[in-house]
């Protein structure tokens, strides 16, 4: 058990536990100590939950001692993004407003994770209320990319991606509204999965844009990501938008056989100038061809409208969802407010960071009297067109492949003063969220500067199985 958790997978931990090479408690203690030592390099964790981790680990050890099945994630150290609530463990959402918030309940995904034997090490840094693409919008300081410390880890699940890449967690939970799992996964060189909308319960995920929000796994291998999704997926009575569709056995489908699978390359994703990212993606496509996939060009003609559509819908929903932070219930209230109205206005202005305010303002504007039809309703109609693009493409192909991001991890501070450039960098990830289809990022090499690049795979609604099979086959071949 020397060194980082980096050498471990779910399987290696399981066999180590069952062969009594180490106990879950020993592994958790090691992970907590190692995490505390390594964390200053990246700022990936905001809170370590030692008590909870050790309690969970002891429960796993007790099950093993009694000869019971310790669960599919037995003893595996997991990091949880700090927008997902954990009972009794501080959950900040990366916001000053919630710096001292102790949730009174657990998110469903957290409950399922622990029931499966997973050990929650702590809560990871993120852009405030998951709004950002660089993790620079956290009230608790940015996260550094473990691969290149002068660069961003991506966002908003930057802490979760960095912890997995750094080896201070084996698995992590992230959330994705416009690319917040896949983009940091690609920047940090790990696997990140945004499941079908409704596949994983959102109960306990702090709401940003409810019609777009997803919880999903980050891991170092496709197999581990599939195992984590297996545990957290499925209908939950506490989230009426969670899907009834049965959850198939994802791992059983990882047979490496993708012969005859039809893949689409969206022309819109490969326009523009030559780049190292594009070269790496096309190299990955060659690997998939060698594995027997049939590749053809497809069209997703409404891609150029996605950023505009997204930043209307997401901000409109956010302005409504964030109205609850008014100084009444959630820990923070402006000290100087004498009247109720001032209490709302001052608490919110002092509490929210610049990006949250920008999005609340834009969302309020597009929903305000006289603008609703021109902006919000129009964006909802464009969303239909984007979803139709995918439906039509999936009549022809089984999966769509392309880049996750137009470029690899950028430097800290490089884009922070230019919100529109930051938004435009989400171009390849937001359409998947708008359509609600499953999508993921799988590492496909590094640029000459050593920066990781992610290959994005998208499949039909609820066809995570095909997505994992393709990603796993690619991972095996490289």
């Amino acid at each position: 058990m020397n060194g980082a958790l980096k050498e471990h997978t779910i399987d290696s931990i399981r066999s180590g536990l069952l062969q009594h090479k180490f106990s879950a408690e020993e592994l958790a203690r090691h992970a907590l100590a190692h995490g505390a030592e390594e964390n200053p390099k990246t700022n990936a964790y905001l809170t370590f939950s030692a008590e909870r981790a050790l309690g969970g680990a002891r429960a796993v050890d007790a099950k093993i001692a009694r000869g019971e099945d310790p669960g599919p994630l037995a003893g595996v150290p997991v990091a949880v993004k700090d927008v997902i609530v954990t009972r009794g463990v501080r959950t900040t959402c990366g916001s000053r407003l919630l710096a001292n918030y102790i949730p009174p309940y657990d998110a469903t995904s957290v409950v399922r994770l622990e029931q499966a034997g997973g050990v929650i090490l702590g809560k990871t840094n993120c852009d405030e209320f998951a709004m950002g693409s660089s993790n620079e919008n956290s009230a608790f300081g940015p996260v550094r990319n473990p691969v290149a410390p002068d660069r961003v880890p991506g966002g908003s699940s930057g802490g979760s991606a960095a912890a997995v890449a750094q080896g201070t967690a084996v698995l992590a939970l992230g959330s994705d509204t416009g690319g917040s799992i896949r983009q940091p996964a690609s920047f940090c060189g790990v696997t990140g999965v945004t499941p079908t909308y409704g596949r994983v319960s959102r109960y306990g995920l702090t709401a940003f844009a409810s019609s777009l929000d997803h919880i999903g796994p980050l891991a170092r291998t496709v197999r581990d990501a599939a195992r984590l999704l297996q545990v957290i997926a499925g209908r939950d009575e506490m989230d009426s938008t969670s899907a009834f569709a049965p959850v198939p056995d994802y791992v059983a489908a990882l047979d490496g056989n993708v012969r005859g699978m039809k893949l689409g390359l969206p022309r819109e994703y490969f326009e523009g100038s030559e780049s190292e990212t594009r070269t790496l993606i096309l190299d990955a496509v060659e690997v998939l061809k060698k594995l027997g996939c049939e590749v053809r060009e497809i069209r997703l003609p409404h891609t150029p409208y996605a950023v505009a559509c997204y930043y209307i819908i997401a901000t409109a929903e956010a302005s409504s969802n964030l109205a609850r932070y008014d100084g009444v219930r959630y820990t923070t209230r402006a000290a100087s407010a004498a009247t109720l109205s001032d209490m709302y206005r001052l608490t919110r202005n002092e509490g929210f960071g610049a990006e949250c305010k920008r999005r609340i303002m834009l969302g309020t504007y597009v929903l305000s009297a006289g603008y609703y039809d021109a902006y919000y309703l129009k964006a909802q109609k464009v969303r239909t067109l984007i979803a139709r693009d995918y439906a039509q493409a999936f009549e022809e192909v089984d999966a769509i492949v392309g880049p996750v991001s137009p470029f690899p991890a950028f430097k800290l501070g490089e884009k922070v003063d230019d919100p529109i450039q930051m938004y435009l960098s989400d171009i390849f990830t937001i359409t998947g969220d708008l359509a609600g289809v499953p999508c993921m990022s799988v590492p496909c090499g590094s640029t000459s500067a050593g920066l990781p690049v992610g290959l994005q795979i998208l499949t039909r609604h609820f066809d995570e199985t095909a997505m994992f099979r393709l990603a796993d086959a690619y991972e095996r071949a490289t």
């Binding site: 009174p104 409704g198 504007y365 464009v382 067109l385």
Partner: protein, 99 residues
């Protein structure tokens, strides 16, 4: 200009944000840039397109309904522990109505 500083102040009122004077100009500039980009949507004719509010799948109309039954709620003391100001199991706020 798509949006004036005066409009920014009005929207800030609606959003319950007490933006400081030095934030107004920057906000107007940023929103203007974003709204200019958003104008791109006007290139599309969407007059015969249905709006999409939610990702929906085939399911019966009553699929998401459940039986109405009694269940324990969160413990009042645990919830109130997060209140900036509480008393007797209630949230306390500045006086709303002057007597």
């Amino acid at each position: 200009m798509k949006i004036t500083e005066q409009e920014v102040r009005r929207v800030a009122e609606l959003a319950n944000l007490a933006l400081r004077d030095d934030e107004i100009g920057r906000m107007a500039h940023d929103l203007d840039e974003i709204l200019t980009h958003i104008d791109k949507l006007n290139e599309l004719d969407v007059s015969h397109v249905e709006p999409m509010a939610q990702v929906l799948y085939d399911a019966g109309e009553t699929a998401t309904l459940r039986e109405d039954r009694e269940q324990p709620t969160l413990d009042n003391a645990v919830v109130m522990a997060n209140a900036p100001l509480a008393g007797h199991g209630f949230f306390k706020v500045p006086k709303v109505i002057e007597r």
